[in-house]
Amino acid sequence: MGSFSADKIFNDSHLDVMKELGSMGTAHAATALAKLINRKVTMPVPNVSWIEFSNVADFMGGPESIIVGILVSVTGQIQGMMMFLMPMESARSLTKAFLGKERDTQEEDYAFDDMERSVIEEVGNIMISSYLSSMAGLTNINFKPSVPFVSIDMAQAILSVPAIEFGKMADRVLFLESQIQVQAEEGKADVDCSGCFILVPNLHSFFRILRALGVE
């Protein structure tokens, strides 16, 4: 077999399946978040698309915009990783909702203290785990997530991690853009937790997921 690439192998019905999986996953993640902070959350239908390497960072505000990335590596019947990415504002509004404290504006924008960092880690962990468990339920495939790892840095630098994984099989990255919006309530500020999920299975695992759902 000569040169083949995942973006040629995948057709619209594959993308539809991934979109459906993404919707279910995000819904589970949103429910988990709602329980965690005891607030109502809403989510629009996620966007699923292949993004060229040169444009991946535009999704998160440009190559040098500082974002928060939470990564969990996945083993078991599927090999790969799952990421949740959010802009700094989302991370800030999350930590504020949890810890109920205003941040010191003197601090640099990218600086989080230990408490804030563990809030981000835990929220990311819970959202990614519920996403994965929804996928496990639908596909009957067993996913074993690792502990979460957090990185706060330039969007392009963080996105190099999934881009390199996809780079082994394609010239694009499969993005599941999910927004989770926490509604304003009396006496409580609006919390915006929009972000992106990126599922990065190896090629073999990708087809295993599709096969499990009856797509060839």
């Binding site: 040169s3 995942a6 840095d153 392009q156 630098a157 881009a163 390199i164």
Partner: protein, 162 residues
């Protein structure tokens, strides 16, 4: 950023003559390979994602891999008047963005990119003048064709010129 600064994207490479300059934004685990010939005042910059094109089936984009990018970068610079024997190298990137206890080869791709780059530079007899690699943070770099100065910027770590 200077008006004559050209952006090199992810899995991309470019070469320029002075007074031109090249930049690549947010190198993570990718490696940024900067070559320059100060005599001819020609510089070339590549933003590579993977160490070896021979291990990958989908390898049509030469800039994606260290081995194929280096060949193309040298050739493009020679077209602008640079000589291989006068070329020098400065490299950056190859970070491990997430703090895995990485034994898995997939997760230490940054190290592998750096190792592959250093090995190839030796093969091509291009001296390595500076190396701002590894650790766990992203880097933006700028390369100036007039004297080969290489500027590295990181979040919360200031600016460094080598």
């Amino acid at each position: 950023m200077l008006a004559n600064m050209i952006i090199v994207g992810m899995a991309d490479l470019k070469a320029v003559k002075a007074p031109g300059a090249l930049t690549t934004l947010g190198l993570g685990s990718c490696v940024g390979i900067a070559l320059y010939d100060a005599k001819a005042q020609v510089a070339g910059l590549a933003h590579c994602m993977l160490p070896d094109s021979k291990q990958i089936q989908n390898n049509s984009n030469v800039a994606k891999f260290v081995d194929t990018a280096m060949i193309k970068l040298i050739a493009d610079m020679e077209k602008l008047g640079a000589k291989r024997m006068n070329m020098k190298a400065k490299i950056a990137g190859g970070a491990q963005m997430f703090a895995f206890n990485a034994t898995n080869d997939n997760l230490r791709i940054g190290d592998r990119n750096i190792e592959a780059t250093i090995k190839l530079l030796k093969q091509y007899n291009i001296p390595l003048m500076a190396k701002e690699c590894g650790e766990n943070y992203g880097r933006t770099v700028e390369l100036f064709a007039d004297d080969g100065r290489f500027v590295i910027k990181s979040v919360g770590r200031g600016v460094k010129t080598v």
